[in-house]
Amino acid sequence: MGEPLVRFPAPESAPPEVDLPKAGRSGVQMAPGQGLRAYLGKVQAIALKELRVEWRAREVSTTMVVFGLLAAIVFGMAFDLRVPSPQMVVPGILWVIVLFTGVVGLHRSFAAEVDRDTLAGLLLAPMDRSAIYFGKLLANLLYLLMAEALLLPALLILFDTNLFQPTILVGLFLGSLGYAEVGTLFAALTAHSRAREALLPVLLLPVMVPVFIAGASLTAGVLDGAPGSGVGRWLSMLVLYDLLFVVAAYLLFDLIWEA
């Protein structure tokens, strides 16, 4: 019935030379069996596998970091001397860059597996499919946080605005978590599409509007320093978003891989 989701190499072609990780050398022992501990071990194994691939190829993280810095510079040039105080535009700039930076990296999450023909192997791994989701989610979250760690100093230099404030950092973490949750799921959905690089932002950005509004308002509230500007309310919105979509993604992720 239709094309299979998973393509195996044609039988007559020679098996490709693959540098298989040797058990033990990777330092990850996948715990067999059931239970939360074993499950977390599997999530960790996937996350470490992602990071190891990334460390060797440096494909996603470097693109995200460079794109983030570039966007900050472009915004700096766009707004320089055009706004009375840079603090007025920095919250919006910060969150726009976070959203666009994320989308640059997120689509590689599953597309790279499709391109390298490794998706079948990943799906055949003896584990609950949701462990794959959470492993990739952790890796994507880490790339996002890394890009943000370099973005904040850039904004400090270009806009003379100190964003290193605990509430902003917490908000940034919660927002990135929600972004990675939905983004990882949508990356899996679009991995087989023809125009996945263009499609992912179109799918993702309308769904990220609550995170964008809450994040930008939270940042603006902290920068303005006005008491009772509803910072707690925005934090709770981000927490609600994170909780809602981690549950929804956990329930729906399995459905993607039926064939």
């Binding site: 094309e3 989701l5 949508f186 959905l189 309308p206 609550p210 809602l244 993607i256």
Partner: protein, 246 residues
Amino acid sequence: MATQARRASSPSWGFVPVLALDVLAAVALVVTVWASLIYAAPAANLAGAEQTAQRIFYFHMGANIGALLGFLASVIGSLGYLVTRSLFWDRLAQAGVEVGTVFGVGVIVTGSLWARPTWNTYWTWDPRLTTATITVLIYLAYLLFRNGIDNRHTRARFSSIYALIAFLSVPLTYYSARWFRSIHPVVLTGENPDAQGGFGLGPSMEVALSISMASFAVLFLALWIHRVRQLGLQDRIYELREELYR
């Protein structure tokens, strides 16, 4: 599978009721135009251009009903597909999104035209405006996403997953935009203390509003059923083509 799809997409359930619904929708729209432009009393607390523009309200709310029904159809259709795996439900969802997009654009356009004389701006980031716009963007994304997937069941499954996730975010968008700012009056229930211009409907206005909402609902149903039928026939053609070339 094939027989089930054949039954669901068969045109044998009759074209006559659909045509009757079309005629009903056309008549209802004529009545709506009469009720909202002639029958309803002019707004008592407005004057000049604002008073004339207030009559857009009936079409604004009517289109809103259509958009809402499209939204409901897509959520129910998506859930129905994931539970039953019958393409019938997927067609309900797709038709709901397509017709809902038309109505959604209608809500935004009529709202902007009305806002210009009333709020002195075409656009503001009010929660309802924000939510309506984002919902239409989600609709468009949904339709683009479907186009890119060839396998019929994969398309149905993936777009159902997207629809459910995306529509979970709509209430959050509404509430975050509501906390952000609001000047839009709450028409049917509750009050918005920050609203620019309150809302009290006179008796003839209430009648016109009810007529408009009911006839736009009929119009939605007519368009939706047509599109569901059409999509069913389309699926049937694909099935026949596959059988032919096999």
